[in-house]
């Protein structure tokens, strides 16, 4: 029962946000090392590490890196996803606020390995505090010659720009983010097999590497210590460590970095234990299916969580105690997705809003028993048919909540009020 700090190793060092202190703690040595390696060697190291994307989908990082064409007939770009919008997740915020140079170093290495000369870090508009920290750190890195022309005399050029969002969860989706960087409405773009992968035709139809803040922040340690070292942590298929943003009904909410495969209950204890009686956990951000307390005996890695019927997602670990009314909670979830649906495709645009209307009617006491199956059916109609994964993400949690807590729905519809709240008032 302990944290295993890789990304957070130096996070408590005072002044680690400054270049000086970062360098004292080995900062930018990974970049120097990488510049001495061939690009392919860097990619191979990432491959050996088994690092998987921390943005939600868990896609092996090296495959993207390796998929970028190895010639320069077109400009290449690195796009760092710092749009952190998944409800329940706040790890990227902390990584930027408290360890900006680690991320910058990771981005530059990624740029070197993928022949990119330009990187964009897409920070959500609300994140002005992290953005200011990043700004200061980037300026420092330019001054020290880690960014700009001829980095450390290596002949490699790399410019890093901050591009800020303006309020849209959907822009965290990688192709919608591309639209947003290109100055358009934040709507997603066609995906493989309907269009080439972003690694071939991303930003402005040029090869583009897209990775999450946490993913890129792992890179310096991997290069410094070797991929094998990283792969020695975690499980076979889920290597390394993962930051979980623990929030909700726990005594010490916050970000905790643990080894992949750590038992869920251990993480709960790390976070000071549950306030009250554990009802359920949402382990990977609002988009993943809810995990009732009875099923919480599970390890935190991609495969185990999947087997348990949920997902690791972005590591937004929300803890609910028994005071939470699932119907109301899910109404809030549904409202979130309806609000954030970009409107492009029919199922998500119409389906998410329809579900909110049904929830509202149920909460207002006008529910009908058939509404439960109707909700399930709407979930089916959205899931897998929407343009991007936001639609799926809107359907999964609701479907899971009905699966596990159908009785709460039925109670609400029959009585016109919440079962949980009724129990609480009788208890009180």
């Amino acid at each position: 029962m302990a944290e295993l700090k890789v990304l957070f190793q130096d996070i408590d060092v005072p002044g680690i946000q400054t270049l000086e202190v970062y360098e004292q703690h080995g900062g930018y040595s990974a970049l120097r090392k990488a510049l001495g390696m061939t690009r392919q060697q860097v990619i191979d190291e990432v491959k050996a590490s088994g690092l998987r994307g921390r943005g939600g989908a868990g896609f092996p990082a090296w495959i993207k890196w390796n998929g970028i064409p190895k010639d320069e007939s077109k400009p290449h770009y690195v796009q760092c996803n710092a749009d952190e919008g998944e409800p329940g997740t706040f790890k990227d915020r902390e990584l930027m606020m408290r360890h900006p140079h680690q991320l910058i170093e990771g981005i530059i290495i990624a740029g070197y390995a993928t022949l990119s000369k330009v990187g964009y870090i897409y920070i959500r508009g609300e994140y002005t505090e992290p953005a200011r920290v990043m700004r200061r750190a980037i300026d420092e890195a330019y001054r020290a010659g880690y960014l700009g022309k001829n980095i450390l005399g290596s002949g490699v050029d790399f410019d890093l720009y901050i591009h800020m969002g303006a309020g849209s969860y959907e822009c965290g989706e990688e192709s919608a983010m591309m639209s947003s960087i290109m100055g358009e409405r934040g709507q997603p773009r066609l995906k493989f097999p309907h269009a080439p992968l972003p690694t071939i035709a991303g930003l402005w139809d040029c090869p583009t590497l897209i990775n999450n803040v946490e993913t890129l922040s792992c890179v310096p340690a991997i290069i410094r210590n070797g991929g094998a070292w990283y792969a020695s942590m975690g499980t076979e298929k889920s290597t390394g460590t993962k930051i979980f943003s623990v929030s909700g009904h726990v005594n010490k909410p916050g970000n905790y970095e643990v080894e992949m495969g750590t038992p869920l209950m251990e993480l709960l204890e790390l976070a000071g234990g549950v306030k009250g009686k554990l009802k359920a956990v949402i382990p990977g951000g609002s988009s993943v299916p809810i995990l009732p307390a009875e099923k919480c005996d599970v390890n935190l890695d991609y495969e185990s969580l999947q087997a348990a019927g949920t997902m690791l997602g972005s590591g937004g670990f929300m803890v609910l105690n028994d005071t939470v009314c699932i119907v109301k909670f899910m109404r809030r979830t549904a409202a979130f997705y309806a609000h954030e649906s970009c409107g492009k495709c029919t199922p998500c645009r119409e389906g998410t809003r329809w579900m909110v209307k049904i929830f509202d009617r149920i909460l207002a006491g006008g529910g009908r028993m058939e509404d439960i199956d109707l909700l399930l059916d709407i979930c089916d109609q959205i899931d897998g048919r929407s343009y991007c994964a936001l639609g799926d993400a809107a359907a999964w949690p609701i479907r899971a909540s009905i699966k596990h807590y159908r009785h709460e729905y039925e109670y609400y519809i029959q009585h016109g009020h919440s079962m949980v709240e009724a129990q609480q008032s009788t208890r009180a």
């Binding site: 409107g343 492009k344 495709c345 645009r349």
Partner: protein, 771 residues
């Protein structure tokens, strides 16, 4: 074109070969499998489509061992490219369910106002719901409420409640017309289509969005509630509102036009039309049409019979010829006539009256017909086909507000830039709408009237750059040109034209092989037209575009049949096929065919005729379908001429201002009431057909009027049909032989150039024109 790679795919168990990358929704059509859709449109960018999700199919790929690995989610067939071994199912239970689901979603917010919706009867949403939809809706909540039908322009009505967010209209406005005046506002279920703050939708192509809309969200303000699709008939026609020759459908109820729709012709308008075309044919069914001949008696028009009218005209013509010679009779007009009519008109004037006084041009500039391009490239005005503009590497638009003058040519030019990355140079004295439709084109803002200096300045730079293509041109010629252009330095030209030297250099850099030059009104109408055209011809030759598909010089003509009228010899100095009247051999060939003696003296141009008339020297002025009192560039002269001419005969659809001066008014049939061919700006001859009868039996087609008049003039020009006239045209002007009705292809025939004289440079005047 390179051989297209074929791949083998399987749709619903049927194996077929299709071009690699073809969208499955298209491949399915090949075997008669219908996949419902809303947002898909083959001409709209694929990148942003696939949002309606109606066209979902299940797909997988054949594995080496013969098994099929299915993709976990259904895929949109409108964006799914065919690849080797792709296996597709379009009608599984899951897909049927998905379609029902999508339709249910689309209908939850769609008002149930089909009975009062203009789209009713031809509505994809209605149709798809009928075939694939759910029986009942489970939606019990309140529907979305938004402003109902309100006009966003004189033509277009927007009903936001009906919109299904397919984005066809917005994609059209951003990708095709390029004005981007429609976009979605907000997001999610609040998303709605809009112009900027609901201001006027001023796009010149707005009508297309009405046709693209798969529901009744965008409807025509003009057509609104006029008819239902099932009680209309349609006839194929050609738009008469400019020289582009868009293919259209005339939709009509008995003897009344109700609307115009775009008709597909890949070579010309693809399927688009401009708003002038779509909404500008109202005149055909106007209540103000002339219904019988009119003769002025005691200063007032009285209804007359055709016999009276013909007799009056014939006697006055005969008298004029006898007393003043055939030169005292003249005809103006022809750019709105069909080829067949134009041909018969000039034959009437030349054979029955014996004069070459005939001209269709109304612009200030009326040079000799064989000047300009004809002598240089063997084509009269344009070298390039509209469709080939798409392939250009550079497009140089000179002196034209292209969006307005040549809307369909503009769409191709824009496509060349948008889809194929062509570079664009635009030269015009003021800000044009055209230049706003391209991202950062090179704009040359020259001072009005300095076109030829500008072109020579560019030529100077091309020669100086060393990239000039001089193969096959006598070195002496090039040298001479170089000499004479020596003083057209960028600095000097900048001073003369007002264009910065840097812009000149940027523009010259872009001129090279594959440059399409498009010239419009500013060049055509300029008194120094010939000079500019010579300079442009030199530029065309020296950039290697003398004889290219994707490069060349194009002087775009204004009216529906300007080109045809010129081809047919509705000009004072040439016979059909540009045979010069004063070239004995050429004339005699036609004399032989017609078995008639023809006047060998060139006649008067429009300007000359009007000047003569104003001096009281024209005994008879015959004006066909041109409101010169309003439209002639010098209206004052036109009016004086009409006042002073002996007898004024006006043949038109309306009592125009010009007709007010007439002694005899002859009511003519509209394009919907007759048949024939027009030759468009790219020299494409296209047929149009009769849709319905004229508003009165006393309205005659121009063709009938000309032949009947000939009889009264004592010369019969036997004409049985437009088809037969075309056969004769083919003999007189062999280039038209391919236009015989019985073997004319659906997309029309581009009239071939005459043998191209080897391109020759023309020395330019060294004197830089003063400004």
């Amino acid at each position: 074109m390179a051989e297209q790679e074929l791949v083998t795919i399987e749709i619903n168990g049927i194996e077929l070969q299709v071009p690699k990358g073809e969208m499955i929704i298209e491949s399915a059509k090949r075997i008669g499998v219908d996949i419902p859709f809303f947002c898909y449109h083959p001409r709209l960018g694929k990148g942003q489509a696939a949002n309606c999700r109606m066209c979902l199919v299940e797909a997988g790929t054949k594995q080496p061992d013969g098994s099929v690995r299915m993709m976990p989610k259904p895929q949109t067939s409108c964006t799914l490219p065919a690849s080797q071994g792709l296996v597709v199912f379009t009608d599984t239970v899951a897909i049927q369910k998905a379609r029902r689901g999508i339709l249910e979603f689309l209908l939850i917010n769609h008002p149930l106002d089909c009975p009062i919706c203009d789209r009713g009867g031809e509505c994809p949403l209605q149709n798809n719901t009928l075939f694939y939809g759910p029986g009942v809706s489970r939606f019990v909540e309140e529907k979305r409420h938004l402003p109902k039908a309100f006009p966003i322009s004189d033509y277009v009505v927007l009903d936001r409640e009906r919109c299904i967010h397919c984005a066809r209209c917005t994609r059209f406005s951003q990708e095709i017309s390029g004005d981007a005046q429609l976009d979605f506002l907000k997001r999610g279920a609040d998303m709605m289509v809009s112009t900027f703050y609901d201001t006027e939708f001023t796009s010149r192509f707005s009508g297309n969005t009405i046709e693209l809309c798969p529901v009744g969200a965008l409807t025509s303000r003009v057509y609104r509630f006029r008819a239902r699709p099932w009680d209309m008939k349609s006839q194929k026609s050609i738009c008469t509102r400019c020289s582009n020759g868009c293919n259209i459908w005339l939709d009509y109820r008995p003897n009344r036009l109700v609307r115009v729709l775009g008709r597909e012709n890949e070579a010309v308008n693809e399927e688009w039309t401009c708003d002038r075309g779509k909404f500008g044919h109202e005149y055909i069914s106007s209540d103000r049409r002339l219904l019988s001949p009119l003769i002025r008696k005691d200063g007032k028009f009285v209804t007359a019979s055709w016999v009276e009218a013909y007799q009056l005209i014939a006697s006055r013509v005969r008298q004029a010829v006898q007393e003043h010679g055939a030169g005292s009779v003249g005809a103006i007009g022809g750019a709105h006539l069909s080829n067949e009519e134009a041909y018969v008109l000039q034959k009437l004037m030349r054979v029955a009256i014996g004069t070459n006084n005939i001209d269709h041009r109304l612009e200030p500039n009326q040079p000799r017909a064989t000047d300009g391009l004809f002598g240089r490239f063997g084509v009269p005005f344009t070298q390039n086909a509209i469709a080939d503009i798409e392939k250009a590497k550079t497009i140089f638009i000179l002196g034209s507000e292209l969006v307005d003058e040549q809307p369909i040519v503009f769409l191709r030019a824009r496509k060349a830039w948008f889809r194929h990355g062509a570079k664009v140079v635009i030269a015009y004295p003021e800000v044009t709408e055209t230049e706003l439709r391209f991202d950062e084109p090179v704009v040359l803002r020259y001072r009005e009237g300095t076109e030829s200096t500008l072109v020579n300045g560019l030529l100077h730079l091309v020669l100086a750059s060393g990239k000039a293509v001089t193969d096959g041109i006598a070195q002496g010629e090039v040298q001479a040109l170089r000499e004479t252009l020596r003083e057209y330095t960028p600095e000097k030209v900048a001073e003369m034209t007002g264009v910065e030297t840097e812009r000149l250099r940027e523009a010259a850099d872009l001129l090279g092989e594959g440059t399409v030059i498009l010239c419009g009104a500013k060049v055509r109408n300029h008194p120094r037209y010939a000079e500019t055209v010579h300079a442009l011809a030199n530029l065309t030759i020296l950039t290697g575009n003398a004889d290219r598909e994707n490069g060349g010089l194009n002087i775009l003509l204004p009216e529906v049949n300007s080109h045809g009228a010129a081809d047919m010899g509705v000009l004072p100095d040439v016979l059909p096929g540009y045979a010069r009247v004063d070239d004995d051999a050429a004339r005699q060939r036609i004399e032989g065919l017609w078995e008639e003696k023809l006047p060998a003296e060139p006649g008067m141009s429009t300007q000359a005729m009007l000047e003569a008339a104003a001096r009281g020297q024209m005994q008879v002025l015959y004006i066909i379908g041109e409101d010169i009192a309003q439209k002639y560039h010098d209206t004052e002269l036109a009016q004086r001429a009409l006042e002073s001419a002996g007898l004024v005969v006006v043949q038109d659809l309306f009592l125009t201002e010009t007709a007010q001066y007439a002694d005899v008014v002859l009511p003519a049939a509209s394009v919907a009431e007759k048949e024939g061919t027009f030759t468009n700006t790219e020299r494409r001859v296209q047929r149009f057909w009769k849709a319905f009868n004229s508003p009165s039996p006393d309205v005659k087609s121009d063709l009938s009027i000309f032949t009947e008049l000939a009889v009264y003039l004592g010369k019969s020009i036997p004409v049985f049909s437009a088809e037969q006239v075309m056969d004769e045209i083919g003999q007189v002007f062999p280039a038209y032989a391919a236009c015989r009705y019985d073997n004319m292809p659906a997309e029309g025939v581009r009239v071939q150039a005459s043998a191209v004289p080897s391109p020759q440079l023309v020395p330019v005047q060294t004197e830089v024109p003063a400004v």
